[in-house]
Amino acid sequence: MTCRDLIELLAEYVDGELSAQRARALERHLEDCDSCRRYLVAYRETGQAVRDAFAEPDPQLPEEVVRAILDARKRGGAK
């Protein structure tokens, strides 16, 4: 497996969607390639950074929006 091959398979590997055989081939490449190991770390950190950036409590739906929804329903918006 080349570094370019690894890049193309990385998303599936990180998401656990790669076959066992291909995952093993990828991991064998990682054992011998510093650049790819660092690339994988950066790739995973990016995914985690995305999840962390949105990990916050749900907002409260503003009261005026609640009322607008319920009024629309009463006016027949949901019929």
């Binding site: 969607e17 907002p59 929804i69 319920l70």
Partner: protein, 216 residues
């Protein structure tokens, strides 16, 4: 009936259809569903107050501004009200509403006028010795107050970076990473093949890694 605590200005009346029931959890949801299908107005209000915040969070993530997000939530609820008689028992209301909200947001995004977009090829992280070091750099451990500030600033920067992605890649990234939809679910929603979803996600992650490394 147990009603989830919420920050309400006035006490939430117990819906008439569910007043006599003492259940919680799935039973509580079943009672709420019965009330909705019986067109109990109090149940509609409970549905909006119970799930509205979560739906707004989903809409805010996918839409580009708050007004749009609020419109999406309103559209999603009205769509849910129309379709409540088709709701499949055994499924979870929250999951169903989540899906409706995502679909409403995607429809809104499709209708929106196109914005000039950075070409993703310009953002792609190329594998070379220098870029292999790219990533979000938070290796140091400053004091806790400074860490909190740094964390908030990092989150702001990550979100801004996501907004720089081409719309198709941004949407796939959010649906897979944040909304936690599967590849096949995203493919079905967007009307593309699963392979197209995988490619867009991969390119989005690569581009985002490069944008983040430029801002690190």
């Amino acid at each position: 009936m147990y009603v989830e605590p919420m920050q309400l200005k006035t006490p939430m009346p117990i819906p008439s259809a569910t007043r006599s029931r003492g259940s919680s959890g799935p039973g509580d949801e079943e009672a709420l569903l019965e009330g909705l299908q019986a067109q109990d107005e109090a149940c509609y209000e409970l549905l909006v107050r119970r799930y509205g915040g979560r739906m707004l969070a989903v809409a805010q993530r996918l839409c580009r501004n708050d007004d749009e997000a609020r419109d999406v939530v309103q559209e999603a609820f009205l769509s849910a009200f129309k379709g409540i008689h088709r709701f499949r028992r055994g499924a979870r209301l929250g999951t169903w509403l989540h899906r409706i909200t995502v679909n409403a947001a995607l429809m809104r995004l499709r209708r929106a006028s196109s914005h000039p977009e950075v070409q993703i090829d310009d953002l792609l992280l190329h594998l070379d010795r220098s870029s292999a070091h790219a990533g979000v750099g938070l290796a140091a451990r400053p004091p806790s107050a400074e860490r909190r500030l740094l964390r908030r600033e990092t989150h702001r920067m990550v979100r801004a970076s996501i907004d720089r992605l081409p719309a198709t890649c941004r949407t796939v990234l959010l649906l897979r990473e944040i909304e936690e939809l599967s590849t096949s679910e995203v493919a079905e929603m967007l009307g593309v093949t699963p392979n197209a979803v995988k490619i867009r996600l991969h390119r989005a992650r690569q581009a985002l890694a490069r944008v983040l490394s430029e801002n690190a």
